[in-house]
């Protein structure tokens, strides 16, 4: 018999998931992600085009995705808490027999599920390149799996940032913009800032703080425990801050 806590958390998770698919949000996010990455990879000529590059890899997909997700994941997460705060159902939720951690985790995993569902159909890209390769199957399987693990970790971080932004305000639009800015700072901001401190220890530290350097390292197909610890830590920190913010309503 599962404990009541688990049942309640799963109920909230199911409610959020069905919310995505009973409104347009879920479909729009998945379709826009697949269209954006598909058009840049297969249709628009240029350095991201697989045919132009002439190599049997889908590396360009993993270069494009962080930028596409930067706008789509905030769209998934923006209403999670802000809508509850605005409509006053937050108080109702807090009085339910469900712990604060479960509330945050249920909403977090629901948003992450939508992001994961949007990644899954891109195995078609992988399979296409696999069959287009000469000889057939001439694609670095291990390297591609590593890249997929990296992309999933990246999406998990983006969602945790989006969930925090949503808990900070009662306005969805503000939550969306804050999430985009936070994600940009975490993904690219620290990396750009490090250029100001070229050849110093500060440069190294700032680079290690940015998602970009860890994502690129894992995207090559090398799984380093330090990168995994970084991804896990950032997710844990943002979820803890979110939980702290939610709890502060009780004081």
């Amino acid at each position: 018999v599962p404990s009541h806590k688990c049942v309640n958390m799963f109920a909230l998770y199911k409610k959020e998931i069905s919310g995505y698919f009973s409104s347009l949000t879920g479909y729009v996010v998945i379709i826009v992600f697949l269209m954006a990455s598909g058009i840049f990879m297969w249709v628009v000529p240029g350095q991201n085009n697989v045919f132009d590059a002439g190599y049997s890899t889908i590396d360009t997909f993993f270069v494009l995705s962080p930028w596409v997700f930067m706008f789509l994941i905030p769209a998934i997460t923006m209403r999670l808490f802000s809508d509850e705060i605005r409509s006053g159902t937050m108080e109702l939720l807090m009085t339910r027999p469900i712990s604060d951690t479960s509330v945050v985790m249920a909403k977090y995993t629901a948003a992450l599920t939508i992001a994961t569902i949007s990644i899954l159909p891109t195995f078609i890209y992988f399979s296409s390149v696999y069959h287009l390769g000469n000889p057939i199957g001439n694609i670095d399987m291990g390297g591609t799996w590593g890249s997929y693990i990296g992309l999933l970790s990246l999406a998990a971080i983006y969602v945790s940032i989006g969930v925090l932004a949503s808990a900070l305000t009662n306005n969805q639009i503000v939550a969306f913009i804050m999430a985009v800015v936070f994600i940009f700072i975490m993904f690219y901001g620290f990396d750009s800032l490090s250029l100001l401190f070229a050849n110093t220890k500060t440069e190294f530290i700032l680079q290690k703080l940015s998602i970009n350097s860890h994502y690129q390292s894992i995207s090559r197909g090398v799984i380093d425990t330090r990168d995994l610890v970084y991804f896990f830590s950032v997710i844990a920190i943002f979820i803890m801050i979110t939980k702290f913010k939610i709890q502060s309503r009780k004081w």
């Binding site: 590059a53 190599y55 197909g221 380093d224 330090r226 920190i237 803890m240």
Partner: protein
């Protein structure tokens, strides 16, 4: 009274969580492994390379010939 207790409990929980993450990150810099998933182990030094590098006690010069325009994957 009750509120103050909840507040203190939440703050200490948050602080303990943060401390664990900081310790985990410091520890991970000393104890780590890496798995190279690429089919040709592109990002791992082979045992042969390591022994060869150990035997060298002079400066090593590299000459790399690349045509940038024909390699979209490697622009320099």
């Amino acid at each position: 009274m009750q509120r103050k207790k909840i507040k203190q409990g939440n703050i200490s929980q948050f602080a303990i969580g943060m401390a664990i993450i900081v310790l985990l990150n410091i520890g991970s810099n000393y104890l780590f492994t890496r798995i190279d998933l690429t089919s040709d182990k592109r990002f791992t030094l082979s045992e042969h390379t390591k022994t060869m590098l150990n035997e060298i006690d002079d400066v090593v010069y590299f000459k790399i010939y690349l045509d940038g325009l024909k390699m979209p994957q490697a622009k320099f």
